[in-house]
Amino acid sequence: MNEAVVSEMPHDASRTQSGTHSGYSYAFLDELTKKSVRRAILKAVAVPGYQVPFGSTELPIARGWGTGGLQVTLSLIGPGDVLKVIDQGSDDSVNAVNIRQLVELTAPGVDTTAATEEATIIQTRHRIPEAPLHADQIMVFQVPLPEPLRVVERRESETRRMHAEADYGRIWVALYEDVVQHGRITRSAGYPVVVNGRHVMTPSPIPKWDVPRLHQAPFLSLFGAGREKRIYAVPPLTDVVPLAFDDYPFAIEDFDGAHCARCGSDDTFLVEVPQPDGSSVMSCSDESWCEARRTERGQS
């Protein structure tokens, strides 16, 4: 998606009899497509962690730019919803902005926001917001590679068999080999987890920092992979346990006491931000959270 596409869309806000807007179906997708996506979502919720195939459709953005997550969002969203879209913690990246604009344009009655607590649906690429999430919020993850077993098995037929039979020895042995070679598990983004004690799942490339937040979470997490045509889910209050050993336990990123150069937080996921002088500083990855902290501090 780019500016050109958006600007080509009619802005006259004229509505057809069926309640569509701008000549497009509500939320861009036609009703049958949304229905089929919702059906996949229901199945995904019913079998936590299981990758449900779905007929991923064409969108006015390229595959690989969040089309899976967007189809989930567009199928769920309706009047009264408030949408937040983030890209690695940023509400202002081009991709996040474009997705928000597409929804604003085609789904009347939906508001968009940067404030986490206001959102009913949060579509994200590679992060979970720092702010606590609630039972009436839905996380929609954009997933590039939904198959956690791909690293150990190339063939789709074989990975599907492995999931069906809960035959997870090989992914475990990959972690074992990691420990043998490096003295620790080096896997970071997209850390494999066991969902509901059954399916091994990749939580999309979120940092390890965010993984524990999926465990017994109050909110529903939906994962959409547009290019790979898979949808999977973690329903609220479901066990999400990272693959790890009793003597090499799962650990989140350690920032070694560093804090955000802007808001001063030392309890958030930090990223390195290059400075004009060639140096770099640590800063909150979740910009809206950082902003709120700074505002809070400014007021007090």
Binding site: A164, A166, G169, R170, V173, Y176, V180, D247
Partner: protein, 300 residues
């Protein structure tokens, strides 16, 4: 009691040795049948040793094995001997779940107390039984090992599949098993692709034994090895028979291997069992024409 059976109890989570009644049937197979092709009503009539073929003349289906029944007691070894195409390897592949049988039953002492048919269990249950209670040594190491991961990792995979979750215990167990197979601990983290054929087969045996299985299946395990190397591998298997209390099924076309390892022998031809009995009886008083031919052809 072997050194394996006297590991700390918390490490041997699925050790059946202690509870194994020496006179218990560990594995029972009845009327096993496997075929390639759709089959027709004449298949049984038109195949078998009396027709010198396992291909049905009417529909072309291959009856890989049919009417195969046997039982193996804990601590005993059954040999299956026959030429290529006799169905002996098919029997093992069906038991281990590499191939789906067309009919028959298999019960395992350690699965539902031997009361349930393994062949009709779900794929997930079969995988679990295979991971916890069975071991297999393939003719070709590439079928039984992942040659790219370490030797220790190959053994570890079985332990991990059986839910061992401590790297130190896994390494202790894998190292111990490999040492028993005369592979020094210093080579534990080397991939078997760097090993000789005999060493690879010994890694396979260590892997097959990892979980203290009730049944170990050995398919032409020494066929590809030099005679002098064969000897070492066979000695280790003999040693295991004396210490592990497992039931073994040994498939071989080599009567010398059968005489050495098996108390009882079953002779197969064209997918059927033509004769079975005590190994010394089969070798010294063979009754079926094919067995007589087989025995008179070699000086076992």
């Amino acid at each position: 009691m072997s050194a394996i059976a006297t590991l700390p109890t918390e490490m041997v989570r699925h050790d059946h040795v202690a509870s194994r009644n020496a006179e218990q049937i560990a594995l029972k197979v009845e009327n096993l049948e496997a075929q390639y092709g759709r089959g027709c009503s004449a298949c049984h009539e038109l195949t078998g040793p009396e027709h010198s073929t396992n291909v049905c003349g009417q529909c072309g289906t291959v009856i890989a094995c049919a009417d195969v029944s046997f039982a193996v007691r804990a601590g005993r070894t059954l040999g299956i001997v026959g030429e290529s195409g006799s169905g002996k390897t098919t029997v093992l592949r069906c038991l281990y779940g590499d191939l789906n049988p067309a009919g028959g039953t298999a019960s395992l002492m350690t699965y539902e107390d031997g009361r349930a048919n393994l062949f009709t269990a779900s794929a997930q249950v079969r995988r679990r039984v295979r991971n916890f209670d069975m071991g297999m040594v393939y003719q070709h190491a590439r079928d039984g090992l992942n040659l790219r991961i370490s030797a220790g990792g190959n053994v570890a995979e079985r332990l991990l599949a059986a839910e061992w979750r401590r790297v130190d215990q896994i390494r202790a167990r894998a190292g111990h098993l490999l040492e028993r197979m005369e592979i020094p601990r210093s080579r534990m983290d080397t991939p078997p692709s760097a090993f000789s054929g005999g060493m690879q087969q010994r890694v396979q045996i260590a892997r097959a034994l990892a979980n203290g299985p009730a049944v170990v299946l050995l398919d032409e395990m020494t066929s590809g090895l030099d005679v002098s190397v064969q000897a070492g591998v066979l000695d280790l298997v003999l040693e295991l028979q004396r210490t592990e209390g497992v039931a073994m099924v040994v498939v071989s076309h080599d009567l010398g291997v059968i005489r050495l390892l098996c108390e009882r022998t079953m002779v197969m031809k064209n997918g059927r069992v033509v004769e079975s009995g005590l190994t010394d009886q089969i070798l010294e008083d063979p009754r079926h024409p094919y067995t007589q031919l087989l025995v008179s052809s070699v000086n076992a």
